[in-house]
Symmetry: C2
Subunit: 201 residues, 2 copies
DNA sequence: CATAATAAACCAACCGGTTGGTATAATAAT
DNA sequence: ATTATTATACCAACCGGTTGGTTTATTATG
């Protein structure tokens, strides 16, 4: 008996290949055969680890979001003491992340949400949960900033966090269509400018 | 001989059905058979009007964007004299449009851009063109507003228009995933607040 | 030996697209 | 005005290929 199914390197490889393919081609356009070929495995092997393509989809989604989440938590900006600096660091980090040619300039989460929300309700729910989760992480820094820089202000940090996610996803989408990554930076700069008016009066 | 192929009611029906199906299910998840069944026609008929599914995709995209475009041009807000009021009218109009249960709260343009940019380069180009076109329309009002309310300001109305499109598309995406249309309104309210700081000092 | 991992062959359903053909109606020739 | 011609509109059946998924068997491994 080999070690448990859960963390097999083969499963990891299937996940990673699926992530790569689905991030660039989307879910529907990526076939199981394609994933198997990329991983140098056969379908029998694939269905040994994932009972269906949809289960794989969910796993890939979690896999992607978890890694994004960890990238943020481990990034240098996240350790900054001053919440306002940390807040701006957040934006700069995202700009750099999507500017870097080493990374894909796609968001698999946004991709899945757009493509599968109407046809795969369970995946839609999962996307919604991940969006909420990511917004909450941003909201923490936002709340700290508010407490320090604009404690009196009437400001809905919840909806502002959602707004941030929307700006990010929207600009990624636009950048992809126009093949111009600069759009992400410019759009986030406008968002930063908005934050400045809220916290630097 | 009936009148030319171009404006046949049958073709119109295929287009409209394709739009409906693709707007909710996406491009890949919508089969030609499905469209034919919805239109009460057969595949032979379909391929008489469209040489391929991709050609249909392009036609549906243009069909959707043209109607969106006309909705804006014909909306009451668009006739307002004061550019600032027209600018705000723009935002309110979008909020109402996507709040109304009669309309789909999806954007087919955003959907296609997300789903097909990497696999269908010609459709990607078309999406980019439409985005540019819509941004330019917004920019006109923006430029007028700037001229009247903040002529001295150093303000990149081009990138601000792109930012608007990004906010719109991003919030639509988020609203879809979370099944909460209120997100669009809240996000556009933040954007409006940002515009206020630029033009109402 | 028992169990998990991988492979190979296979399957029914479905995909986009083609075929050959018919019905219809406008045009041209008589 | 009647007929022959031609182009369009539409359909039912079908095609080869691909899809997600299964089955059965072989190979490793503990």
């Amino acid at each position: 008996m080999r070690k448990a199914n859960e963390h097999s390197p083969t499963k990891e490889k299937l996940l990673e290949m699926a992530r790569q393919l689905m991030q660039t081609q989307g879910y529907s356009a990526t076939s199981v055969d394609q994933i198997c070929e990329a991983a140098g495995l056969t379908k029998g092997s694939f269905f040994h680890y994932f009972k269906s393509k949809e289960k794989l989809g969910k796993a890939v989604l979690d896999y992607y979001v978890l890694s994004s989440y960890q990238m943020i938590l481990e990034a240098p900006f996240f350790k900054k003491k001053d919440p306002l600096h940390r807040l701006y660091g957040y934006l700069d980090f995202m700009v750099e992340r999507f500017k870097d040619p080493a990374n894909e300039s796609n968001c698999l989460l946004g991709n899945f949400a757009q493509e599968l929300s109407d046809t795969h309700p369970e995946i839609r729910t999962r996307c919604a949960g991940h969006f909420t989760h990511l917004a909450e992480l941003f909201k923490k820094t936002l709340d700290e900033t508010k407490a320090s820089y604009a404690p009196e202000a009437r400001l809905d940090t919840q909806s502002l966090s959602d707004h941030f996610i929307a700006v990010l996803e929207g600009s990624i989408l636009l950048a992809k269509a126009k093949q111009d990554k600069g759009i992400i930076e410019k759009s986030l700069r406008h968002f930063k400018q908005y934050l400045k008016t809220l916290f630097e009066k």
